[in-house]
Every structure is written in C-alpha cells, then in structure tokens.
C-alpha cells in the first residue's frame, strides 16, 4: 500500500492507467473469440476518458481488464502505478477496494442495503472508517441527503446511479470506472449523472474512465478512445463533436 501511495502525486499529472499489448480471448480452438487484440493505451490522470465503440468492439472487456475484474490473456496493465498481472486474486481485490471506484449500468446497488449503507460499502469491506466530512459533502453535492435511509427499490433510476457515484467516490479512489452509467436512464437523469462525473474530474481532479456507446454521453468526456473489433482505432484528445462522429462513423 505504501508504495502505491508514494506514487499517487504524479498521477494527477501523469498516467492513470497504461496497457501494453493487452489481449483477451475467450474459448479455445475453433470457438476462440478475440475480444481484445493487443491494445497499447495510456489514459491520462485527472481527466474524463470515454471508451466508445459499437457492440462487440470489446469496450466492456477493456474496462474489465483495466479494472482488474478480468484477467488478460496477454499483455500488461498498470493502474495507479500497480502492475495488475502481478497481483493474485486477493491482492487484486484489495487493490480494487482501496484504489478504484465503480459505477455500473443497471445493477449497481445491493437490494438489502440502504442508500447510506451502499455508499459506505467499500469502506466497510476494507474495515476503514468513514470520512464524515467527505461523505456529507458527496451526499450534499449529489442531492441524496434525504434519501439515505431508503433501499434501492425505493429510489428512482437516476437516484440509484447517483448513489452509485457517491459510493464510487467515497473512498477517494485513484480511478473511477463507469460502465454505461446512463444506459437505463432518461435524458434528464443521464445529464445529471454525467454532470456529476464531470464535476468530480473538474473540481477534485478525479480520474474517470467511462464506457459508453452514446454520443451524448461521450460529449461530456475530455478524451475519447474509439475501439473497433478489439483494437484502438483512435485516441482523440478533447475532440469536437464532428471529429467524434467522424471517428465513429468511419468504422461502419
């Protein structure tokens, strides 16, 4: 842990995540599917990066590998200064709960826990105490103060995703991974959620990596990585909407 903490300062200016020759395939022989074919990628810290691509382009697999949820078949992944391929399952789990935050598409919250309990979950799993001020500030910013005692089934879709964002941020992670965070939301709730993610980057220097296939969502991003057939087609820095459309459209 001390080692990663020492590395933290350069992350705000340096690279949050890096992959070299990252490949992931499923099955063997005739049924082998190559989801990722040798990806070299440097994701800068303190920015909101969107990973885009059509269905089956491997964007979710890329995120799973970056976040230590899935084991690459080949290549290396370094996140927050930690080489993930050198960690065993337990170390990887501890790394995730100490250094990463997650927002998923539909299923994000444990149904039997209240909103507040869901937010505190990563800290509780790590056996760490809650930073009260940070918790209150987060809950205030996300407009959840009066929803803390509710269970997920009693919250709207937008509220559920805001709870998930609060949970992803509560332990000040090095990187937040968001997998289609607006997939199940209407446009108003989507805008809210994306705005919160962008504010965390702008105001707190948070690093966020977001997988999405929605152009509107990608418009909130600083950078966009376009993935096609398991390979990086383009890594656009602060693209204009036109450039983005062109990059995406060119694949079709």
């Amino acid at each position: 842990m001390t080692q990663t903490q020492q590395l933290t300062p350069d992350l705000t200016t340096g690279t949050a995540a890096r992959t070299r020759g990252l490949a992931r395939s499923y099955g063997t022989g005739a049924t082998e599917v190559h989801a990722l074919r040798g990806i070299d990628l440097d994701l800068p810290a303190g920015r909101l990066t969107a990973i885009m691509g059509p269905s089956g382009s491997g964007k979710s697999t890329l995120m799973h590998c970056l976040a230590g949820l899935d084991q690459p078949t080949a290549g290396s992944v370094t996140v927050a200064g930690e080489a993930l391929e050198q960690l065993d399952d337990d170390a990887l789990t501890l790394f995730r709960r100490e250094r990463l935050g997650f927002v998923f598409q539909g299923f994000n919250l444990l149904p039997m826990l209240t909103a507040a309990e869901n937010i505190r979950l990563p800290l509780e799993l790590a056996g760490r105490s809650v930073d009260r001020a940070r918790f209150d500030a987060l809950v205030g910013t996300l407009g959840l103060a009066d929803r803390l005692g509710h269970r997920p089934s009693e919250l709207s879709g937008g509220q559920q995703q805001r709870v998930a964002i609060a949970r992803a941020l509560v332990h000040a992670p090095a990187v937040v991974f968001a997998d289609e965070p607006t997939g199940n939301l209407d446009s108003k709730a989507s805008a809210e959620v994306l705005d919160h993610l962008r504010r965390s980057v702008r105001e707190q220097g948070q690093t966020v990596v977001m997988v999405t296939h929605e152009l509107d969502a990608a418009a909130y991003a600083d950078d966009v990585v376009v993935l096609v057939d398991g390979a990086v087609r383009e890594h656009l820095v602060a693209p204009s909407r036109d450039a983005l459309v062109q990059a995406l459209g060119g694949g079709r």
Partner: protein
C-alpha cells in the same frame, strides 16, 4: 410442451438434486423399516415351534406351582412335561458375578429337550447345567467350571457340563438346569408354557389336562399359531412406531421440496413468461411443471427404493454379524410396503409442488419483456396467515392446558401439534426477527461478512422461514425427547433408589457369623464410599422358607437410603419378595427360642429377613451377619461386584448388588434416547440438505450481486464467510428456537405424563442441548460448503457480464 418439459428437466437436473435427495431419503427410510421389521419378525418367530415339536399339548397361563403339579402328574403317569420359562437369578463363577441372569430348565425327557448341544453333554443330575453358547462368553463359563446359581441359602453350586444353542427366541435362557434344581433355587419361576407329551394314547389328553389344571390347554398347532401371531404383532407395532419417524422425515421432505420448487420457479419466472408470450396457455404451463414434479418424484422414489433395499439388507447383515444373539432372521421385503413407499414418495412430491406450481400459472407474459431483474418481493405474512397462526396457537395452548389438567396424552399431542403449526405459520415473522437479533449481535464482532449475511438471510422472509422450518421440526422433537427422557431418568433413578435402599449387601448364610475384619476389607475396596456391619442371626423360618439370615437394619444414613428401607415393627418380619411364603404369619426359630412374626415383603437388602432390634435381642444375635455398602457415585458396578465377591467368597457370604440393575436401566434409557435421536436424525439430515439447497439456489440467484461485491472489493474468503455466516445463522436460529420449543413441550409432557406416573420433575440436560446446538451449527456450516465454493469461483467480470 414435451420439448420444453424434457429440456427443462435436462437443464435443471442439478438444481433438483437436493429435492430428489430429500424424497429418496424418506422413501429409503420406509423400506429400511420394512427390512428391519421383516428380519426381526423372522428372527423372533423362528424356532417358536421347536420346544413343542414332540409335545401333544401345551399348557399356558399358569404359575410355578401349577407347572410343578403338571410335572408331578407327568412323572406319575410316565408322561413327559417340559416347563418352559425362566427365573432371573444371580450367577457367579470364577471372579465374575452377574445379577439378573435368566435361568431356565431342561426337560427330563431327552426327546423334549429342544436346545441344540454344541459342546459337552446335557445335564444328567440336578448338580449339572448347560449354558447358552453366547451367554457362556459373557459369563466366562466353560465346560467343567462350577458356577453358583441363586443367592442365600437356596443357592446351588452346579457344574457346567455343556454348551448349547437356543434357537427359539421366545423361551431361550442363558443357563439351563434341571427342573428340580431350578425349583429348589426359587419358588418363583416365570412359566411361559408347559409342553406335555403323553406316553401312550394321546387321544383325550387335552380334556384330561383341562381337568387337571387351571391354565389354558391347547393343541400344539393351535398354541404355535397363536404364539407366532402374537410375536409377529409385537414386531409390527414396533415397525409402525418406526414409520412414525419415517412420517416425520417425509413431512420435512415436503417442506424442503416445496421450498425448492418455489425458488426454482421464481428463478424461472422469465422463462415461463416467455413461454406464455409465445403462446402456451396457463393450463399447458401448469401441466408441464406438474409433470416435471411427477417425473422428479417417480425417479427419486425409485432411487429411494433401491437405496432403502440395499441399506436394509446391509444393516441386518451388519447387526447379525456384530450381535450374534440379536433375534434377526432373513429380510423379506413386502411388495405392498415397497409399493406404498413408492406411491408415498410420488404423492409427497406432488403435494409439495402443488402451491408453487399454481403460482407459476399466474405469471404474466409481460414479465418476459422487462429488461431489469425481476424484483422478487415476498411479503412477510398475510393477514390470513396471522389469523390462522393465532388461532392454532391459542387452540394448541388450550389443548396443552387441558392435557396437563386431565393428564390426557391425546390432548397433549393434539395441543402440541396445533401450537407447533401456529409457530410454523408465524415463521416468516418470527424467524427473520430472530435472525436480525442474533445476526445483529454477532455483526458487531463479525465484520461486513456477518452484516451482509444477516441482510441476505432476512430479505425473503417466507423462504427463510420455510428453510428453517424443516430444521425446526427435527430440533424441536429431538430436544423434547432428550429433555423428556432426562426427566424420566431422574424419576426412574429416584424409584430405583427406593427399590435398592442399599447399594451392595454381603450376607452370610452359614451357621457362623462373618469374621470381624470383613468390614475393614470391604471399606478398603475400590469404589466403596462407606460400609456398615449389620448384626443378625441364622434362623429357621416356617412355611417352607427354611434357613434364613435375620438382620436388624442399622440406622446408618451413610450406608442406607433411609427413606426407602422398610423398618420392621417389633412383631414384624420383612422378607424379600422371592423368599416370602404366602402365609401372613410365620414362626421363627433360633435354637430353642421361638417367636411368631407378621410377614411384610420388600426388596433390596439381599437374601435375608429384617427384624426390629428388640426382636433380634429376643432371639439372641451372635455377631455380624451382613455388611452393607454404599458405593461411590461413579463406581463401576461390574468391578465393584467382582471385588466384593472376591472378599465374600472365602467367608461364604452372598453378594447382592442393586447397582448393576440400576446401571442396566440407565443403559436402557441411554439406548432408547440414542435410538430416538438417531431416528429423528434422518429428519435433521433432510433439513440440512434443504438448507444447503436453499443456499445453493440463492447463490445462483445472487450471481450478479456477488460479482458486484467482488468488484467493490469483497475477497473470495469474505464471500465464502458471508455464505457460511448465512447458513450458520439460519441453522442456529432454527436450533435455538427449536430448543426452546422442545424444552417447553418436554415440560408439558412431564406435567402430563411423567409427574402423575412417577413424580419427579423436569431436568434440562444442558450438556446434551449444547451438543444439539453445536451439531446444528457445524452441520449448517457443512451445508454451505458447496454453494460457497461455487459462488467464490465466479470471476467478478463473468457475473457482471451475465445478463
């Protein structure tokens, strides 16, 4: 729909395993019961006719003196009469003393001797005996040994001249003497029957015997038929009792199966909705899932039959090998039983699946179109359920109140059953509350795993309640039996103490008093807490009692259970039951002094008569005639008996020990407790299969949750711990609730049945109950091993991707 049926059976086989196991165990239980009962019937009935093979008539329902009269009649006429029966006597040999050994008689006429000679020869004179081969081992008696049978002046020394096999379970004994030798030892011989063979013409024998005796006279065939039927009935009753336990096991199976179906169908809701979308009718869907249940029941019951038959033969063979004296014959499985067991297994499955399948047909086709997870909301308890629960609880409590007031067993069973149904109905309210309570308390120390487990355990109150209900039944019954029998043991112990006011007596029966140093020697023996010398005299007692030691019991509370020992009045003589004559008064003669005393009977002080100290003074005591011993509480009855016998031998004193009989009764109760707990154990095992099953199915359901938790940083170990905690929580809650209920029912049972019969009170066997809770906890842990391993194996990304 057949394609769907077959496909779903194929796909869901693994998930049905637990339910199939529950049914198979229940069915196998019934088959094993049949196998055991048939072997026992065969064994007990075998050889029933053997003692009567060469007889012409059988006389039964008579006592020892009537039997003696028949033997005399036969001897006068040159007929043969063999007395079949036994007397329980002390048998002592070289260093071994055994109380309560069954001693029987060999017939005078060699034709009527049904015992099969194994070694040596049959007795030719009254001083000779044969011993059963198996009993010879425990008595350590070999051909050529001299053993002493009986106690006191009537005891006889006999030489073992042979060993025999006793192939008739109904009238076999351990030791056989001649009829004359046995009747000299005791006037109280229990007569089962007398086999009578006429020397010449057998015509008119039955009427002639009827005229000669008060007993029942039957032809040999009639008697053997009646006896066979009677014995078989006894076994059948035992078989039906065993079926009661099979019934309990099957009832628990119903709960497990119903729960399995509920969970499986809930998981398949979207499949069913899709089927409805593509055009299957409600009826088609319902028929399809019911057929699924039918197939499951049919296959599992068949498995149960096979396993049960194999186990039945195996158990009988094992018992026969381990306990050669056990009256077990050949196993013959009754096709009607097998058919009933099979039918019951299928029926139980169908009944258990009825409600869950009905819910399937109510699935709306729209469910299939929803993309999000089907949120399964199960209400805690409907109003109807609450009303029913309150009603049966109230009725049950009232019934038990009536039972206690009127000492009525049926009212107790009815009240107990109703109140238990009330508790089961309240389960969805009570069980989650208890889980929260216990889980909350443990969560303070248990960390996130415990807190998550508590949350998981209470989120579907009905499922939780149904899962725990099955274990609750087993634990409640087990606890009730353990507590009830512990109470009965206390009561019996008290009664045994009053039957045996003195632990061990050493009574002299010769002309000279016992030597003075015997007391010190006895006090020095291992396991002797204290001993006292009892003054007395050897007297001649009229009315056929003969030479008997008279004692004036000491008032020594350290040796004698004071309240239990009869205190003879000045003109009274207390005699042991097996010595006392029928007369109300006897004359007692010591030298030329003579008194007439009123006879009272009692037991537990050896072969001696008790008189008041002034009576003894009047007759003239000549010193110590007996030593009475109080044993240490933890003394081994066999060892102590042997040690004291070694001391008593040289001075010709008889040792009588109440300890062995006490130990025997205690052992019987222990065996009974073990048997009942073992039989209930089957139900508990099924319940644990159910817990593992619920957990396993829940794991499938919570795949995404587990993936999420793993993504957020729950380690594999923590995930396993969460599932383990959930299983242990469920089993401990069921066990604690069951223990409390069981003790409550035992208390009611004690008030209703035990207290009116033998007094005494409830004793809670804390140690045994602690073991029950511990075993349930550990078993709960074992039940979660497979599901937990499976859950922990899934990589987080896999779970998240599954959609």
């Amino acid at each position: 729909m057949r394609t769907v049926l077959l496909a779903s059976l194929r796909v869901h086989t693994r998930r049905y395993l637990a339910a199939a196991l529950a049914i198979a165990v229940g069915v196998a239980f019934i088959v094993v019961t049949n196998a055991l009962a048939s072997a026992a019937r065969d064994g007990i009935v075998a050889g029933v006719d053997l003692p009567y093979r060469d007889a012409d008539a059988v006389v039964s329902d008579i006592d020892g003196s009537q039997a003696a009269a028949l033997v005399d009649r036969a001897r006068e006429r040159g007929d043969s009469a063999a007395v079949l029966g036994w007397t329980m006597q002390q048998v002592s040999g070289d260093g071994i003393v055994a109380d309560q050994v069954d001693v029987g008689a060999v017939a005078d006429d060699s034709r009527m001797r049904w015992q099969r000679l194994v070694d040596g020869r049959m007795p030719r004179a009254d001083g000779e005996a044969v011993v059963d081969v198996n009993a010879a081992k425990s008595l350590q008696a070999a051909v050529g040994d001299v053993i002493r049978v009986g106690s006191g002046a009537r005891a006889a020394e006999v030489e073992v001249v042979g060993t025999v096999d006793s192939p008739s379970a109904s009238v076999s004994s351990s030791v056989y003497l001649t009829w004359d030798a046995v009747s000299a030892i005791t006037p109280r011989f229990f007569v089962d029957s007398v086999a009578y063979a006429a020397a010449g013409n057998t015509g008119g024998l039955v009427p002639a015997l009827r005229a000669a005796t008060d007993g029942t006279v039957q032809s040999v065939d009639d008697f053997v038929d009646d006896r066979t039927q009677e014995l078989a009935q006894g076994v059948d009753v035992l078989g039906y009792l065993l079926l009661l336990f099979a019934g309990i096991a099957l009832f628990v199976s119903v709960l497990v199966i119903a729960n399995t179906f509920s969970i499986l169908f809930a998981q398949r809701t979207r499949d069913f909705a899709l089927l409805r979308c593509v055009g299957s009718t409600r009826g088609q869907l319902l028929r399809s899932v019911r057929r699924e249940a039918l197939v499951l029941g049919a296959l599992a019951s068949a498995l149960g039959l096979a396993v049960g038959a194999a186990l039945g033969y195996g158990v009988v063979a094992l018992v026969a090998a381990l306990i050669p004296r056990a009256p077990l014959g050949a196993v013959s499985l009754d096709p009607r039983w097998l058919l009933s067991a099979y039918g019951l297994g299928v029926l139980v499955t169908l009944v258990a699946s009825w409600l869950p399948t009905r819910r399937v047909s109510q699935v709306s086709p729209l469910v299939a179109l929803r993309t999000e997870e089907v949120a399964e909301v199960s209400a805690a308890a409907g109003r109807m359920r609450l009303v029913l629960a309150a009603g049966s609880l109230a009725a049950g409590l009232a019934g038990m109140g009536v039972a206690v007031a009127s000492e009525s067993a049926p009212a107790m069973v009815l009240g107990g059953g109703l109140s238990f149904i009330g508790v089961l109905l309240l389960g969805p309210l009570v069980v989650p509350a208890l889980v929260r309570l216990i889980g909350g308390a443990a969560g303070r120390f248990g960390g996130p795993a415990m807190r998550l487990a508590t949350g998981n355990a209470v989120r579907q109150p009905r499922r939780t309640a149904a899962t725990t209900a099955s274990l609750l039944i087993g634990v409640t019954l087990t606890t009730a039996v353990l507590t009830g029998l512990a109470g009965a043991r206390t009561s019996l112990d008290d009664e045994m103490k009053s039957e045996h006011p003195v632990d061990v007596t050493l009574t002299g029966s010769t002309a000279t008093p016992l030597p003075g140093d015997l007391l010190a020697d006895v006090r020095g023996a291992d396991g002797v807490q204290d001993a006292a010398a009892v003054p007395g005299v050897l007297a001649k007692v009229s009315n056929g009692v003969g030479s008997l030691t008279l004692l004036a019991p000491p008032g020594d509370a350290r040796v004698v259970e004071r309240a239990a020992l009869p205190r003879p009045g000045p003109r009274e003589l207390v005699l042991p039951y097996d010595v006392a004559p029928d007369a109300g008064r006897v004359t007692v003669l010591v030298g030329d002094r003579k008194v007439r005393l009123k006879v009272r009977t009692s037991e537990g002080f050896g072969t001696a008569g008790l008189v008041a100290p002034e009576t003894l003074r009047a007759l003239g005591s000549d010193g110590t005639r007996a030593v009475w011993v109080r044993a240490d509480d933890d003394a081994d009855p066999e060892d102590l008996g042997g040690d004291l016998d070694a001391l008593a031998g040289p001075v010709a004193a008889d040792v009588e020990s109440g300890l062995q009989q006490r130990a025997y009764v205690t052992r019987q109760l222990t065996i009974l407790t073990g048997a009942v707990v073992g039989l209930l154990g089957v139900a508990v095992v099924i319940a644990l299969v159910g817990i593992g099953n619920t957990l396993g199915l829940s794991v499938l359901e919570r795949r995404r949750e587990h993936a999420l938790l793993r993504a957020l940083g729950l380690t594999r170990r923590q995930l396993r711990a969460t599932l383990a905690a959930e299983a242990v929580l469920l089993s401990v809650v069921a066990t604690v609730l069951g223990t409390v209920l069981g003790v409550g029912y035992a208390w009611v049972g004690d008030l209703t049945l035990i207290r009116p019969a033998v007094g005494g009170g409830l004793r809670i066997p804390w140690d045994q109950l602690a073991i029950v809770v511990l075993v349930a906890g550990v078993a709960g842990l074992a039940a979660c091993v497979l599901p937990a391993r499976r859950a922990a194996r899934t990589a987080p990304a896999e779970g998240l991707a599954a959609d």
